[in-house]
Subunit: 464 residues, 2 copies
């Protein structure tokens, strides 16, 4: 339903006429994300400061209109799809880096800053912000905070929840709050910072974030280890995680993923390769080689086929080409694959992959797995053709089995993509009823009228 | 007011008669903590499992009785003092280490486990849990979680909020909930784990915690650097924190602290020493010396007087003797000192110490400072005699000035001791009204009848 003239005028008065879209044709591109779901917002408001966010939320509250926050729409779960229409608050123009403070290891940023842009500027100061999703070149810090998105470096350096000190945010009742502290310790009041991180714009809209920075290590080295089968690779992962040096990346590809890449590019791995690990270590220049050797020793076991250590920049780039060839190959084979990002305890990666193979056979679905092995965060890709309704029905059953398996192994349904629309129907399998009831009760305190991204993140109830 | 016979009987039925105290003389020792405040509970129930905790809370809820959780009473803020009487739930007998899982880097423990006992057992597996308050030998994991207590290693390894994966806890409405995940990534539902950590038993009582473990580094070395004045030492702290190697401890003592230790033991530092840093680094055996050298280079500046590196166990112990001599010296001079644990941004340590010297002169209070410089977490000790009412009045004004200064410098009132009773009147200086209102609203969801540790952690309101 289009907005009334008076609401449109009020919105234009807040953000400016050149920062407001109301025509359906203009609004459509702000109604989808990487989940390929789409829904038409009634208006898109390009905010540039906290006062505007507050004013738009207050207006929406008065009018009972849903508000959906949007970074650059790289999310994969539909969390930014304005399912119930209403107003999309687009943060892409609210993208200033406000302060970089190396002595205090912090940066203050607006939510629309693109991850890679921040990393580039931080790099000039010798720092980085650990979360680095694959979409870093096109995703925003606000989005990273909304989903607690991490990426490969999380195994050593943590997720946004471990790397954010303080937030400014506008709640669903239109109040601007400050959470957290500017220091790495602080225990006054309850931790609202981490509560808002990962809440997918359902509790409050972040207008400013104070990020905890990490100094860039002097040097890094990359190892590639190939194994006869997933069990040998999983043993290596457990052995690496049980010794004192934590790698800065510990990525894996299963046999199906290797086979797929092999069809499109020369991997340089032997035909019998059943699993592959990419391992990256970092540290002081003078000891990074010995650090790499220590991790290599942990990676060796009877199932190891080949282990290469790349110490120079070009060698490192060559090794990562394997891992990077995967996404184009996947897109080629199944442009509309279902990509899940479940997590299992590291010690259960092997039984999990075994179980996935069983499910793939049972439901006749091709499944390709890769991901962040050091966190047990596995990207499970169901290669399906959405036009094949029979295959899609089997995929739905298969996915159900995947989630069941994850929970049975003590895992979680999402490591870094979040819940959004895609997984809300499965949340109750993981979270028990009293905890879920508390989450709903907390949501009602932040957003009494239920206008912030309604229906996302938690299971639907009869009354929504 | 003593409990009625029927309540006493009901409590005995839950925990057993040998696990219940109701006589005032027996209850007194469970009515105080290290704040030297004291209040008599009506009963002390020694629980041993979650079902008992749940049953006691449900009974308390029916009867409208306050419930105060207690580890071993080492807190310094009165958070475990049962100000409004009621039932103390003592967790000291609920102290089993349930599981240690090195492959998944986690341990599952009951809240009454003593920190040092856990560390000893973890050490046999090559791991540790980073939080290590000075009271580690006598404090419980449940208490560490209640206050988000950290200690020196937090500068490199974080606080309980960064080192806890999952909790089981009983809310104020008597429901047992599970929060978080068993993995290092997970973003399904809101983060209740971190919300409960640091909430001082006001939201829920932890009955089980799944802790994230860190592997023990092969080797460590200790450096001691002395400086002409606090400015030179603060410059060194900033330089150390701006380079890539994060020390595992970065502790400091100001001139007054050094002078005090000097009266009781031979420090082996020159008379002109105005500030001292204790720095510890860890890493692989083969590179820990070069790591120490890199940090030593960052610690050097024109104000440096002397820098010693201890590479052997006995040398390391000798250096730490300086730091460890401090507490006995302080106890000797002012057995009833006021010990605050404020935090300021690292770059503001020097202006903060300058400001403290000004306040000390102005209010004629002797102040001694030391603490965790890498986090900006300064233990500010006001050396007072509680029997001197005039001095205590000046100390109250001085403390007010300390808190004002901390907030003005962008800091926080507590780094690891929490709020309890001691700081509740100051919380509103740090947290803005809408955030405070949200915290109260969240409290009301977890604990609708307000029975869990009433009056602690947040400012009192007219109706409590």
């Amino acid at each position: 339903m289009p907005l009334s003239d008076s609401i449109t005028k009020a919105l234009a008065a807040i953000v400016g006429a050149d920062a407001l879209l109301v025509d359906a044709a203009d609004c459509w591109p702000y109604g989808y994300d990487n989940s390929r779901r789409q829904s038409l917002p009634a208006a898109v408001a390009f905010v540039t400061n906290a006062a505007q966010v507050q004013a738009v939320v207050q207006l929406a509250q008065q009018q009972g209109l849903p508000v959906t926050a949007r970074g650059l729409g790289t999310g994969t779960t539909g969390a930014t799809v304005p399912e119930r229409n209403g107003i999309v608050i687009a943060f892409e123009r609210m993208n200033r880096i406000l302060r970089i403070d190396p002595a205090n290891r912090l940066a203050v940023v607006e939510p629309g800053v693109i991850n890679d842009n921040l990393q580039r500027v931080l790099g000039e100061h010798g720092f980085f912000w650990p979360p680095d999703p694959t979409s870093a070149a096109v995703c925003t810090i606000g989005g990273n905070l909304a989903y607690n998105s991490a990426g490969p470096k999380a195994v050593k350096y943590g997720t946004p929840r471990e790397n954010t000190l303080s937030l400014a945010a506008v709640t669903g009742s239109g109040q601007l709050i400050r959470t957290g502290v500017l220091t790495t310790k602080g225990v006054v009041g309850y931790d609202l910072t981490r509560l808002i991180i990962g809440s997918e714009g359902t509790l409050a809209l972040v207008t400013e974030a104070t990020l905890k920075l990490t100094p860039i290590a002097d040097a890094k080295q990359t190892l590639r280890a190939t194994y006869r089968d997933i069990h040998a690779a999983a043993d290596a992962v457990a052995a690496i995680m049980a010794q004192p040096i934590t790698p800065r990346a510990l990525e894996f590809m299963d046999a199906a993923a290797i086979e797929m890449v092999r069809q499109f590019s020369d991997l340089g791995v032997s035909a019998e390769t059943g699993a592959l690990l990419m391992i990256e270590v970092d540290g002081p220049e003078q000891c990074v080689s010995s650090i790499a050797d220590t991790v290599a020793a942990a990676a060796r076991n009877p199932g190891l086929l080949e282990l290469s250590v790349a110490r120079e920049r070009e060698q490192i780039a060559a090794l990562w080409r394997t891992r990077k060839a995967l996404s184009p190959a996947l897109r080629h084979v199944a442009p509309k694959k279902i990509n899940e990002d479940v997590v299992v305890p590291v010690s259960r990666i092997a039984p999990f992959i075994d179980g996935l193979e069983r499910l793939a056979r049972e439901h006749r679905i091709r499944i390709v797995n890769f991901g962040h092995a050091g966190n047990g965060n596995i990207h499970v890709n169901l290669l399906v053709n959405p036009d094949d309704t029979d295959e899609m029905a089997r995929a739905a059953l298969c996915l159900d089995g995947v989630f069941e398996l994850v929970i049975a192994l003590g895992g979680t349904l999402s490591g870094e993509h979040g819940v959004g629309l895609e997984k809300r129907d499965f949340v109750a399998r993981e979270i028990d009823p009293p905890a879920l009831a508390l989450m709903r009760a907390i949501k009602a305190q932040f957003d009494p009228n239920g206008i912030l991204n309604p229906g996302k993140g938690l299971p639907l109830q009869a009354d929504n």
